[in-house]
């Protein structure tokens, strides 16, 4: 089951076709359910009508025959009554009935005790049809005391014609040849209306039993006939005939439904009841048999009535189930076929993803969504391949550029002094500097050198970044060296560099620069700030009188220099804006305040320690963000002379 679910989940055709089949099944269930319910109702009603019709016809046929007996009797009984003075004629009349009605078994014209005094107590003229031979006798005698028999007494006591209960014709020789008989009996009265005897006509009921037994509207249905006492006279189980009544079983096991059926049939009612018969749910249709007190019933098992319908229902359901299975299979095939390119595409995408970009994609000429997808995918593949080629080239170029940049970087870094201590021969100065380009090469610069007991130094920041800035920086740094080595003051150095830079500066690049000169003998510090960040002296920003303009912009107005008479023992920090304007991920700058904080406790630190501290602070502030600018720091302190 899990495997099946997994299979369905993984396979789009299986999933789609299953959804379609489920939807179709829901529609089928709803519509078939409604149809089944409706058709069951109508089949039911149809069955009831049919059974009732069959019963009606049967009763009609039987009563027609029984009516013939009555008519035969009615047509004859006036004769004996008119000849009550001639007992011998009774034999003639009883015989005549049988002659005129060969289907009758017997006829007796019987009189009250001693009605004909000369004939004794018993006088019963009886004719019997014995296979076509009619035998007539006087049958009353002490051993055949007919006065107490039902056929005689019923007519007498009820004072109207009536049918007896069916009974077995007495045949002492062979029980099994006994025939079921019933008698139609009618009281005879003299002129004064006094009862004189009974005329009784017997009829074999073999035909009736056969007629009723043959009524089987459904394969397992059967018919029964009961008498006024509920006794079975027709029943498929012959052991019940005459021996059991419709109530017999209820004497042992309570069965109100059965009792109600029996009572209704006894009462001569006509109708239909649903109840359990022999443990099976049945419809029982019942109807009285004419003027007899008998009642006929057809017992139809409900399952039987609905069996045809149930077979049809099973067939329809099987067809639907098979249809749904077929539908599922066909849809799955169709969907699978339609989506087959997707599968190929999927596997090829996997191949492509694995690196085989030149794998050929199928083109089945489809123009639908799948075709479009395939084409898009193919286009994407082509783009990807050309992009990859491009990328390869670019990567190669970039690698070459990077290697060149690395060389450039090395060259650039080689331009600035990086050996510390900076002045190994001097013990009166502690100087440390560092330059960290944001990219491979940067636009920052610093420099320092000693000349004639004077130390020249500078920190600068070229506008822009990258290679142009680095080239400009290289030019600027060389100019600084060349000009400063001529023993010029910082102002002169600035003016000359500016003059050089202004020439042919089509790119309008410029450089901010702080140029200083320290007289090591006196501690005098001359400097010229050209648009650069103010340096920090002993942890405070050095207030500047002249900021001047950056170098390389234009000639003209002279640069102004400043002097601090003695900086011995004082800590000087030169830096580029890569320090105070270092940005973190949120593009928040480190700021001057933070810088002041950092420098506040740095008075006792060596130049190297100060720079390391600041570098670390910048690192921390950036918190992994890519450096936004080159960072250059230069720190120095003239040590007190001992």
């Amino acid at each position: 089951m899990k495997r099946l679910l997994a299979l369905i989940r993984q396979s789009l055709p299986a999933k789609l076709s299953l959804l379609i089949v489920l939807f179709a099944a829901a529609i089928f269930i709803a519509s078939l359910g409604f149809m089944f319910q409706q058709s069951q109702k109508s089949v039911h009603q149809e069955a009831i009508n049919r059974a009732e019709q069959v019963l009606e016809n049967t009763v009609l046929r039987v009563t027609n025959i029984l009516d013939r007996v009555q008519v035969a009797t009615d047509n004859t009984d006036w004769l004996p009554v008119r000849h009550l003075d001639a007992p011998e004629s009774m034999f003639v009349y009883s015989r005549r009935i049988l002659v005129n009605n060969p289907d009758l078994n017997g006829c007796s014209i019987s009189f009250e005790p001693y009605y004909f005094p000369d004939r004794g107590k018993y006088f019963s003229a009886y004719s019997l049809n014995e296979g076509g031979q009619i035998r007539t006798t006087q049958e009353g005698n002490p051993n055949y005391d007919y006065f107490t028999l039902d056929w005689y007494q019923l007519a007498k006591l009820l004072d109207r014609p009536c049918w007896t209960e069916p009974y077995y014709d007495y045949n002492p020789d062979n029980f099994y040849s006994q025939d079921m008989i019933a008698s139609y009996c009618k009281p005879m009265k003299d002129e004064d209306g006094n009862y004189v005897g009974t005329i009784s006509v017997d009829m074999s009921l073999g035909w009736l039993s056969e007629t009723i037994s043959a009524v089987r509207p459904y394969p397992n249905s059967y018919s029964i006939m009961i008498g006024r006492g509920g006794t079975f006279f027709v029943h498929p189980d012959s052991t019940k005939l005459f021996y059991e009544t419709i109530f017999t079983e209820t004497l042992e096991h309570d069965d109100p439904d059965r009792v109600a059926l029996g009572k209704a049939m006894q009462a001569g009612e006509e109708g239909m009841k649903r109840l359990k018969m022999e443990g099976e749910d049945c419809y029982v249709f019942y109807k009285p048999l004419g003027e007899t007190a008998w009642s006929v019933a057809i017992v139809c098992p409900v399952s039987d009535i609905l069996s045809g319908y149930k077979r049809l229902r099973i067939a329809v359901m099987l067809i639907v189930i098979l249809g749904l299975l077929l539908l599922w299979r066909v849809f799955r095939q169709i969907i699978r076929r339609e989506l087959a390119p997707l599968g190929k595409l999927t596997s090829q995408a996997r191949t492509i993803a694995a690196g085989e970009f030149d794998k050929e994609l199928p083109d089945d000429g489809r123009t639908d969504e799948i075709g479009q997808l395939s084409q898009s995918f193919s286009g994407m593949q082509h783009s990807l391949v050309s992009y990859m080629d491009e990328l390869k080239k670019t990567t190669a170029q970039k690698a070459s550029i990077e290697s060149e940049l690395k060389v450039a970087s090395d060259i650039q870094m080689g331009m600035v002094p990086r050996i510390f201590p900076a002045f190994p021969k001097r013990d009166d100065i502690d100087l440390y500097a560092s330059m960290t380009p944001a990219k491979e090469v940067g636009g920052d610069l610093y420099d320092y050198f000693e000349q004639d007991d004077r130390i020249y130094l500078c920190v600068g920041d070229v506008s822009g970044k990258g290679i142009p800035a680095s080239l400009f920086m290289a030019v600027t740094r060389n100019l600084f060296r060349i000009i400063a080595q001529q023993g010029k003051s910082p102002v002169e150095v600035a003016e000359q560099i500016n003059s050089f830079l202004v020439q042919d500066n089509d790119q309008a690049m410029f450089v901010t620069m702080f140029i200083g000169r320290i007289d090591m003998s006196t501690g005098r510090f001359d400097f010229c700030n050209c648009g650069h960040n103010p340096p920090m002296m002993d942890g405070q920003f050095l207030p500047l009188k002249y900021t001047n303009r950056p170098l390389g912009l234009w000639d003209g107005a002279p640069f102004q220099g400043e002097t601090i008479e003695n900086i011995r023992g004082r800590q000087l920090l030169l830096y580029t804006d890569g320090l105070n304007e270092a940005e973190n991920r949120s593009q928040e700058i480190l700021g001057n305040d933070r810088l002041l904080e950092l420098m506040a406790g740095a008075g006792k630190l060596s130049a190297r320690e100060v720079i390391l501290r600041l570098q670390q602070a910048v690192e921390r502030h950036r918190d992994g963000a890519t450096p936004n600018d080159d960072l250059t720091l230069l720190c120095l302190r003239l040590l007190e002379l001992k």
Partner: protein
């Protein structure tokens, strides 16, 4: 005659000989086979009669050869009779001896239409057996001034069911259940049980003519003993007894069924218990003989008193 035939004949003679040595005894119950006579069937089938040294043959009466006729003609040595019947016969001058009394209580009932109290309908048509058994009911009708119009029927309950009569006499073990089985509603009102109203007179017993009894006292005693054993066994084994009864019923094609016979057997066995002592006593009660005799005399059913001693073989 070949060897096989000779052997068969010898075997037949050998097996037949002990039976020939026994007394042949024809017993005729007063009605067709039914559970009313279960004890006798049991005694025969279980070999109690054989053990008692009597070769009993049970022959049921037919319409042309009623039980009493057979006894009078000595075709049958014993029959069952109700006490009131026996009294009538003795009164008519045929001395009879009760050799075994099985019934301790009266089974007679009158069943009227639903919700009709039989005692409230004077002059109504009441069905009764043409063969008798209705002496107590006649006494009731006369004593209570009910003036019932008796309608004799040969058997069954059809007259009542057809509405030809207003009520019918029935035995609580037989027709009563036939009526129930025919869908007749039994209520508190429409059934009158004689045993509940001072008419509790014993019924079935085994009788033979005094003449025969005088000559075959020992045989009569042995028959009675074995019959009593049959009844006691029946009371202890109702299921097996019912099967024996059904075998008889089926053999004689009696229009009845197992349910009816079971109810009949239960009721018959219930009637055999003295309700005062709770014991199956198998004895004629002098007080009941006296009660029956007095009742019947009062109502002109007997011309003279029949005493207990006249019924008993000494």
């Amino acid at each position: 005659m070949n060897k096989t035939q000779t052997a068969l004949l010898s075997l037949l003679l050998l097996t037949a000989f002990p039976a020939l040595a026994q007394d042949r005894f024809v017993f005729t119950p007063q009605w067709t086979p039914q559970a009313q006579f279960a004890g006798y069937y049991v005694a025969l089938e279980q070999g109690f009669y054989q053990e008692a040294g009597i070769d009993v043959v049970i022959e049921h009466p037919t319409s042309t050869r009623p039980a009493l006729d057979r006894v009078f003609k000595n075709e049958s040595q014993a029959t069952t009779l109700q006490l009131t019947q026996a009294l009538e016969i003795i009164d008519s001058g045929v001395p009879l001896v009760n050799i075994l009394q099985t019934s301790m209580n009266n089974a007679l009932v009158i069943v009227a239409r639903e919700d009709v109290d039989p005692l409230t309908r004077k002059g109504m048509r009441v069905g009764t057996w043409s063969a008798g058994f209705d002496q107590i009911a006649v006494c009731l009708s006369l004593r209570e001034g009910l003036d019932y119009q008796w309608v004799p029927f040969s058997s069954g309950v059809n007259l009542f069911l057809a509405g030809a009569i207003d009520a019918t006499i029935a035995m609580s073990y037989n027709e009563y259940y036939q009526l129930v089985q025919a869908g007749v509603s039994i209520t508190d009102r429409n059934v009158y049980r004689f045993s509940d109203h001072g008419y509790n007179v014993q019924e079935d017993g085994v009788y033979m003519t005094r003449a025969y009894f005088e000559k075959h006292q020992d045989q009569a005693r042995r028959f009675a003993e074995a019959s009593r054993r049959g009844w006691e066994w029946a009371a202890e084994h109702p299921e097996e007894t019912l099967q024996i009864v059904m075998d008889y019923v089926q053999k004689y094609h009696i229009a009845t069924n197992r349910v009816l016979q079971k109810l009949m057997l239960d009721e018959i066995l219930r009637l055999q218990v003295n309700w005062e002592t709770g014991v199956r006593e198998f004895r004629l009660r002098p007080d009941m003989v006296e009660k029956a005799s007095t009742l019947m005399q009062e109502n002109q059913l007997l011309f003279h008193e029949i005493t207990y001693d006249e019924l008993i073989g000494r």
